[in-house]
C-alpha cells in the first residue's frame, strides 16, 4: 500500500549518505537545537543537542514532561519550525524539501477538522491541495473512510461527530495521500480513557496495514509503551533526548496491556524519565 517498506529499511552508519537502492532513514536529526526569542528577555532554550535516527517503518514515541520540547522537536521534523543549529533530514532530504514534497502528514491534539467541509471533503483537503482530479479524490476518500471504519458518516459535518470520530477523520485526512511518515502531536490527549485505548488499537491496526513510519508525541508512559517500537525519553530545560528504549513487545493485543513485559518496559521508561537513578 505504501511506498515505504520496513523490511527494506537499512539503517546504515549514521550520517553516511544513503547508498543507492537502500532507503535513507525516515528521520535523521543531527545536533539540533532550538532557541526561541534569541537575545530577547523571554529567550527560551527549547531543545539542545538532539540526535535522533528513526528507521523506515518504525513507530517511535517522544515522551517527556510538559515543556520538554517534544512538540517542538516534532515541528522541527515537520519543518514548521527551523532549528537554531544542526540539521533535520526526512527521507534523506532537508526537512523543508520533504515538507514541500509532502513526505509526511501531521495529526494534532485537536482534530482541527474544517467545520465548513463535510467529512469526505475534509479527508480530500490534502488531495485538493495536490491537484488531484475529483474522481480520484472521491475514490481515495472512500478508501480512507473504510480504513477508519466511518463510511456511513461520509456526508456528515464534523460538529455532528464525537471527539474520537473526529480524530479518526483527522487520521484519515492525514493518511489520504499515502505519506511515508505520520507525525502525531498528542493525538489522543483530549479523549477519554476508553476512547483512547480504542484509538490506540485502531492506530496500530492502520500502522500494521500500511507500514507507515510514525513519530508520536505523548506524555502517557503506558501509551508510549503500548504503541511504539522505540521510546525516546526526553528531559526538560533544555529539551534533550535522555534515552532511547527499544520496546519490542511483538504484535499488540488487548492482552499486551496486562503482559509482564509491558510492565517491565513501563518501568524502564519511568526510570529513564526520572533520570535513570533507580536502574
Amino acid at each position: 500500500m505504501n511506498g515505504a517498506s520496513p523490511a527494506a529499511s537499512a539503517s546504515s552508519a549514521a550520517g553516511a549518505p544513503p547508498a543507492t537502492g537502500a532507503q535513507p532513514p525516515a528521520v535523521e536529526v543531527r545536533g539540533a537545537s532550538k532557541i526561541f526569542n534569541l537575545g530577547r528577555h523571554n529567550e527560551v532554550k527549547a531543545l539542545a543537542d538532539i540526535d535522533l535516527l528513526i528507521d523506515q517503518g518504525d513507530f517511535v514515541t517522544l515522551i517527556g514532561p510538559s515543556g520538554c520540547g517534544k512538540s517542538t522537536l516534532l515541528r522541527l521534523i515537520a519543518a514548521l519550525v527551523a532549528p537554531s543549529d544542526g540539521t533535520v533530514a526526512v527521507n534523506g532530504k532537508a526537512a523543508d524539501a520533504a515538507r514541500l514534497d509532502r513526505d509526511y502528514s501531521m495529526v494534532f491534539q485537536r482534530a482541527g477538522l474544517f467545520e465548513w467541509r463535510n467529512v469526505t471533503r475534509n479527508i480530500e483537503l490534502p488531495l485538493e491541495l495536490m491537484g488531484w482530479k475529483a474522481a480520484d479524490r472521491r475514490r481515495r476518500s472512500a478508501e480512507m473512510l473504510e480504513l477508519v471504519k466511518l463510511t456511513e458518516f461520509a456526508r456528515h459535518h464534523p460538529a455532528e461527530l464525537s471527539g474520537g470520530m473526529q480524530q479518526r477523520i483527522a487520521i484519515a485526512r492525514a493518511m489520504s495521500f499515502h505519506p511515508q511518515l505520520l507525525l502525531m502531536d498528542e493525538p489522543f490527549g483530549a479523549l477519554d480513557e476508553m476512547t483512547r485505548e480504542h484509538m490506540q488499537n485502531e492506530l496500530l491496526r492502520i500502522w500494521s496495514e500500511t507500514q507507515i513510519t510514525v513519530v508520536f508525541v505523548t506524555h502517557s508512559i503506558a501509551e508510549a509503551v503500548f504503541l511504539s517500537t522505540k521510546v525516546a525519553v526526553m528531559s526538560p530545560r533544555p529539551g534533550r533526548i535522555a534515552a532511547v528504549i527499544d520496546n519490542d513487545l511483538g504484535p499488540r493485543t488487548d492482552a499486551t496491556r496486562d503482559d509482564p513485559a509491558f510492565f517491565a518496559n513501563v518501568t524502564a521508561v519511568r526510570d529513564a524519565l526520572r533520570g535513570g537513578h533507580r536502574r
Binding site: 467545520e115 491541495l129 460538529a159 455532528e160
Partner: protein, 260 residues
C-alpha cells in the same frame, strides 16, 4: 404537513406579537387620546401611507438606492481592508490605527461637510456617510474572524505546503464568515439610519429623510410616521436578505448549531 407546521411555528409568534402590539397601541391611544403630534394611532399612519403612497414609494426608492449602494460599497471596502490587514503585517500596522481613528469620528456629524464636498443636493454625500458608517463594523469583525483561526489548522495547511493565499482561502475566509454575517446584519440597520439622517442635512429633496423633516415641519405627523415606517420596512427587508444569504453561503454553520 410537517413543513407547514414548521412554517407556522416560526411565523406565528412574531405575527401574534405584531397584532397584539399594534392593537394595544390603537386601543391605548383611543383611551388616553393624546395630541396627534405626540403619537398617532397605527390606523392614521396606515391611512397616511395609503394617501401618499406614490410619494412614499418614490422617496423609498431614492433612499433605498442610497442605502443599498452605500451598504455594498462599505461592505466590499471593509471586507477587502480586513483581508489586506490580515495578509500583510505592514498593512495591519498602518491601516488598523487609521480605521480606528476614522471610527472615533462622529461620522453622522460629517454629513454637512460631505455636502460641501459632493454638492448640497447630490446623493453622493449621503452614500459617503453610509459607506463610512458601514465600513467599520464589517472591517473589525471580519478581521477578527480572519485572525482568530485554530492555530493547528494553519500549521496543518503549512505542513501540506500551502501558501499564504491558499490558507486565506481555505481557512481564514471560511472561518471569518460567521463574524462577517454578524456584522452585515448589524450594518443593514446602520445603513438605513445613516442614509436617512444624512438626508436631513442635504441630498435629493425627494428622499425619505426630507419627506420626514418636511412633513414634521408642516405638522403632518402622520406622513412623517408613514415615511419612518417605509424606512423600517427597507431595514427589515435588508436584514432578512442578509439572513437568507447567510443561510445560503454557510449552511454548515447551521448544521453545526442544530446538533450542538
Amino acid at each position: 404537513m410537517t413543513a407547514a407546521r414548521a412554517l407556522l411555528h416560526s411565523w406565528l409568534p412574531p405575527v401574534v406579537a405584531a397584532v397584539v402590539i399594534l392593537g394595544g397601541w390603537e386601543v391605548l391611544l383611543a383611551v388616553i387620546r393624546p395630541d396627534g403630534f405626540v403619537l398617532p394611532p397605527p390606523s392614521d399612519i396606515g391611512g397616511a401611507a395609503i394617501e401618499n403612497f406614490d410619494a412614499i414609494v418614490g422617496a423609498t426608492g431614492v433612499t433605498g438606492f442610497i442605502i443599498v449602494t452605500g451598504l455594498i460599497a462599505g461592505v466590499v471596502v471593509g471586507a477587502a481592508f480586513a483581508v489586506l490587514v490580515t495578509a500583510f503585517r505592514a498593512a495591519n500596522e498602518t491601516l488598523t490605527p487609521l480605521a480606528v481613528a476614522v471610527n472615533a469620528v462622529p461620522i453622522i456629524a460629517l454629513a454637512p461637510i460631505f455636502n460641501a464636498w459632493f454638492g448640497l443636493l447630490s446623493p453622493r454625500s449621503n452614500q459617503a456617510v453610509v459607506v463610512v458608517l458601514v465600513f467599520f463594523p464589517i472591517f473589525i469583525n471580519t478581521a477578527r474572524g480572519l485572525t482568530q483561526v485554530e492555530p493547528s489548522q494553519v500549521e496543518l495547511m503549512e505542513s501540506y505546503g500551502a501558501g499564504r493565499w491558499r490558507i486565506m482561502r481555505e481557512v481564514r475566509i471560511p472561518n471569518a464568515m460567521p463574524f462577517f454575517f454578524t456584522a452585515l446584519k448589524l450594518a443593514t440597520s446602520l445603513a438605513v439610519i445613516a442614509a436617512i439622517v444624512a438626508e436631513y442635512f442635504g441630498g435629493r429633496q425627494d428622499a425619505l429623510g426630507n419627506l420626514i423633516t418636511n412633513s414634521a415641519g408642516l405638522t403632518r405627523y402622520n406622513d412623517a410616521w408613514a415615511a419612518v415606517l417605509a424606512g423600517s420596512l427597507v431595514g427589515i427587508g435588508l436584514y432578512a436578505l442578509a439572513v437568507l444569504i447567510e443561510r445560503l453561503v454557510m449552511p454548515w454553520y447551521f448544521v453545526a448549531r442544530r446538533s450542538a
